[in-house]
């Protein structure tokens, strides 16, 4: 928690300081009120007092009350300002940090976790900052000050107040010890209930096909019961809280007056009035003390939650980047358009086994190199090394004959048109999705966009959409089909006019016909571009200049379709599973 405070700016610290002054003023003025009350008490009990005197005290009281209100408003203003700008800064820091992450760091946290850290956790901190400035800081000041006011005004009364505070604190500690942990358990149990319900929903057809409705319902009932039990425990325990606090608050004034009766009876005549007015005032101060202690409790409820959030935020902000910009280079002109891997090994951070071992190959300018292999054979990992989503653990990945690490990241990425396995579309329009980002050559023209869409075989459906090129794309691209998303995502790469294409299984949602047309167009329209394709379908890669067969992270075959059919066993197996024997004989 302390660590995150270093992100507060000096101006905000200044604001904290100023609001501290206002808090003190607020407490001072609020505690003045019972003092005036004691003056009034004396006036009432002293025969022959002037009414004008009372009005005068009344005006002072009003001024004190107003003053305290104004101070509170100032505190509220500063608190809101600090809270909002602090959370804005944290959000911004987090966002920029995450943007600078490579895949290695992202996978360290997982995307959903990063999202919660940048949203919910920041909100938690904001709530905590504002509440602590408004309430939490005030409570101890109030408690301490009120205590000094009553100190020495009567040992018996102080005792009673002390006991009341002790009871409140004991109650709260008991709750803290027994109930608060249950709240944490409750979260897990709620997750369980949701999980079982989600299971039922996602497997709806299976549940019905297997007549397993009752099975699912019983399972749900078990988790539901667990959750209910804990909920019952926590809310029943909390049921003690309010009546207890209420009773303590009401009883304290009763006891103070009760004791007061005896004190007055025993006092000397001249002291009686003083004790009486002390009594009236004391009951007020005692209430303030107890209330402040109750407020103080909020710290213990809020702080653990906020500090968990703070830790989670710090964790992201403190993460060291593993992939850093190079000095910048143009590449070797004689090796332009060439990608080569030299003895590349790759191991995921913290992983034991190498995902890739001893990878060697060269893709020359204008060539198409395809990668095929079972799931988990390392195809995606291999091509992820080119745009430096990860860096090779050993060996060198070269683009244009130069180690990728020597480029500035932007410089490197501007040459690459990368299309991932699962297409990503952003909220916006078709055009804004195609003309996404920048390639270092200035903005894309509408003609660039249209041409890219045509090459990606997306013209037909785009022109049928409402608004055509300016048609709206919903968040996550939910309003276009899987195949359409894939084509748009390919168009985005084409629009970039890159020197290298990287297709990571980007054709899988297309039917064979579209797949073929797209690849033909691509070949005709983008001459001289080096293309790397990861694919599952033999049909997609049969005509590649070079096919690289991967198995368990190693290259087990390299060559053309025909060559591999006769030399590579893994390739034969894949081919046999997809093509009939007649076709293989071709």
């Amino acid at each position: 928690m302390k660590k995150i405070l270093k992100y507060l700016k000096p101006t905000e610290w200044l604001m904290v300081g100023v609001s501290l002054i206002f808090i003190v003023a607020q407490v001072w003025l609020e505690l003045k009120l019972p003092g005036y009350m004691s003056e009034i008490t004396t006036l009432v009990q002293t025969p022959g007092s002037e009414i004008a005197k009372i009005w005068q005290v009344g005006v002072y009281m009003l001024l004190a009350a107003l003053g305290s209100l104004v101070s509170a408003i100032f505190v509220g203003y500063f608190a809101a300002r600090i809270g909002a700008s602090f959370s804005k800064r944290l959000r911004s820091l987090l966002f920029n940090k995450v943007e600078s992450f490579s895949m290695a760091e992202i996978s360290c946290f997982s995307i959903p976790s990063l999202i919660t850290r940048s949203t919910n956790d920041v909100t938690q901190i904001q709530v905590f900052t504002i509440l602590s400035l408004q309430v939490v800081i005030k409570a101890p000041i109030m408690a301490a000050w009120a205590l000094t006011k009553i100190a020495g005004k009567g040992f018996e009364w102080s005792m009673v107040t002390g006991i009341a505070v002790a009871i409140v604190l004991t109650m709260v500690s008991l709750l803290m010890i027994f109930v608060i942990p249950k709240f944490k358990i409750m979260q897990t149990l709620t997750d369980n209930v949701t999980r079982v319900a989600r299971e039922n929903l996602t497997g709806l057809r299976v549940v019905r096909a297997y007549n397993a409705e009752e099975y699912q319902e019983n399972k749900f009932e078990t988790t539901n019961q667990d959750l209910t039990d804990v909920q019952m425990f926590t809310s029943r325990s909390m049921a003690v809280m309010r009546p207890m606090m209420g009773t303590i608050m009401t009883s304290i004034s009763l006891v103070i007056y009760w004791i007061g009766a005896y004190l007055i009876a025993e006092a000397a005549n001249m002291e009686k009035l003083g004790i009486f007015s002390d009594m009236v005032v004391f009951s007020n101060y005692a209430m303030q003390v107890i209330m402040s202690f109750m407020m103080l409790i909020m710290i213990f409820i809020l702080l653990p939650r906020a500090s968990v959030s703070a830790d989670r935020i710090n964790e992201v902000l403190d993460t060291k980047l593993t992939i850093l910009d190079g000095k910048g280079t143009e590449g070797l002109p004689e090796k332009a358009g060439e990608i080569s891997f030299e003895n590349v090994h790759f191991r995921y951070p913290g992983g034991e086994d190498c995902v890739l071992q001893n990878i060697n190959f060269t893709a020359k300018k204008g060539e198409t190199v395809a990668f095929i292999g079972s799931t988990g054979s390392g195809k995606t990992t291999l091509i992820n090394l080119i745009p430096r989503f990860y860096d090779a653990t050993e060996g060198v990945v070269k683009v244009n004959g130069v180690d990728v690490k020597e480029y500035r990241l932007e410089e490197l990425l501007n040459q690459i048109g990368y299309v991932p396995q699962s297409a990503v579309l952003f909220q916006g329009t078709v055009a804004s999705n195609i003309a996404y980002g920048e390639n270092g050559d200035g903005p894309y023209t509408p003609e660039d966009v249209q041409k890219a869409i045509a090459i990606a075989q997306a013209q037909d459906f785009v022109e049928e959409m409402d608004g055509q090129y300016e048609a709206t794309i919903a968040q996550g691209g939910t309003n276009v089909s899987g195949g359409q998303k894939q084509r748009l995502s390919i168009a985005r790469a084409v629009c970039r006019k890159p020197d290298f294409f990287i297709f990571d299984d980007s054709f899988s949602a297309l039917d064979y016909q579209t797949d073929r047309n797209l690849r033909r167009e691509l070949k005709n329209e983008t001459e001289g571009v080096t293309t790397l394709i990861v694919a599952q379908r033999i049909g997609t890669i049969m005509d590649a200049d070079q096919i690289i067969v991967l198995n368990e992270g190693k290259i087990v075959g390299k060559g053309t379709h025909e060559e591999l059919l006769s030399t590579c066993k893994v390739y034969q197996e894949i081919a046999m599973s997809q093509l009939s024997e007649e076709e293989l004989a071709l």
Binding site: G76, A84, Q231, Y257, A261, L413, Q475, G483
Partner: protein
Amino acid sequence: MSNQTQRPSTLPMRRFRGNRPPIGSEKPKNFSKTWMRLLRYNSRYIVAILIVLVLAVLAATFQIVGPNQLKVMVDEIAKGLPAMVDGQPVSQSIDFKIITDIGLLLAVLYTASGLLSFSENFIMATVTAKISRRMRSDISKKINRLPLRYFDQTSHGDVLSLITNDVDVIGQTLNQSLDNFVRAITMLVGTLALMLFNSRILTAVTVISVSVGFILMQIIMKNSQKYFSGQQEGLGEINGHIEEIYSGHNIVKAYNGGQDAKETFEKINQKVCESAWKSQFMSGLMRPIMEFSGNFGYLAVCVVGAILAINGSISFGVIVAFMMYVRYFTQPLSQLAQSLQAMQRTAAASERVFEFFDQTEMDDEDHKTQKLSNVKGDVAFKKVHFGYEKDKPIIRDFSVDIKAGQKVAIVGPTGAGKTTIVNLLMRFYEIDSGEITIDQIPIHQVPRENVHEQFGMVLQDTWIFEGTIKDNIIYSKKGVTDSEVQAACQAAGLDHFVHTLPQGYDTVLDDKMILSAGQKQLLTIARAMIQDAPMLILDEATSSVDTRTERHVQAAMDRLTQGRTSFVIAHRLSTIVNSDIILVLEDGDIVESGNHSTLLRQNGPYANMYKSQWEN
């Protein structure tokens, strides 16, 4: 983890709460109707709730008579003060019997009030927890009684949100709405009556001064609403942007879109910051204004009370009593506002839950006594018509005759209605016209469960739940022995893999235990084997598996289909070349049927499809 191989249409992140308004600011469509319904729904707890309300009234009453007694006590103490009689201080003695009596009486009253209010809270907490449980169970049961058609239009997120958000809101607000409301009313009315009894002038002073603060608060509330909704909107927008950019991180990186994303982000962030501080400031005003309102009432009572006391129209004890009444009067006012808001939230959340309960369920089939038993496996579709939406037919006049034991493949382009055929056969959806028969018995004449019993099913969605491997394979079937599970896994080619796991068949499948797509598929095949139904449906069962793995799975599937009527849907044609009948579907009609070699010879759509696999 059951969800890793979804169809593309369900893959994109669903926005969780859809287009619902942000929590807290929502208004129910019909407040009183929903509350009546909520009470009717919980009629079994009505007695308990009534008791709670009575307890709340009693607890409040006991509490508010306190100051009135305290007044007597203070006046008694004041008697002990020296009064100036003829310039000489004279003090009477305090009657300690009265003091003790009142002290004891108040102690009893306060304790009783505390205990009553505790029992009230306790019962309400219990009732609320039970009501939440019941609602959750009913939602879970309702899920299984709704036709699949319902889920075509409703996202899973919306249904789950009923459980996670709405029932949760009901659980929280119910606890603090009804009884708080009654308690606040009692306090308000009771306090007012007792104040009037003591001093009309001071009552007027209290009510006026407290109302000033309260009205001020309402005005602020009204005017700050726009900042609150602005804040919610802004947060929604920025969270959406964060989600989108983080999820598309690889693209943002690869296309150098970071600068753009940052600019958009900063713009929204600035907006959020603006509305955040305004709304936080506004809501931060509430407490000071409430406090001021209390203080103002307190000082007004003190000053006016003092003047009255000097004039001798009231005793000092009345002032002390009013100092407490100011608090008793202010508190319920804000509680009233809170509980009304809570009741609105309860109603809004209940409305959504009830709306879900009101969805039309599948027909009750208890009266259907006819059953399918010892099924051979003859299946016929006779002139079947069907559409997911009434005016958009998907299946038109579909007829086919399938003999027991045949392997039927259904092929065709996306959207041709392949999965629909299966949905109709399983009675997941009811046909619009025509008839489907199993062993000559129309399937709509027997209960759905009975139809389901006849089929083992393996789907593209390899649905696996959190539980042991054994649980996942046995699933809902009863009386399955360990050796049967093992035999099924051996047949599915999974046994070896399971044995490599440290806990074998008792290994728990959860987020940490990641199975490959192929292994999951084998597991669902083993599940279907255990089911041992007379017929089989394989809906794109291997499409999420790479082709090499598919060959291993295929062997297991072939074993499973032996001797059973089976329906296979596949877009990889290699899996179905050995089928007895291949039905080629286009736009809901069978355009061709026959076995692989006849269809190839016909050189029609099937032959085209087949060739396009490797053509260049």
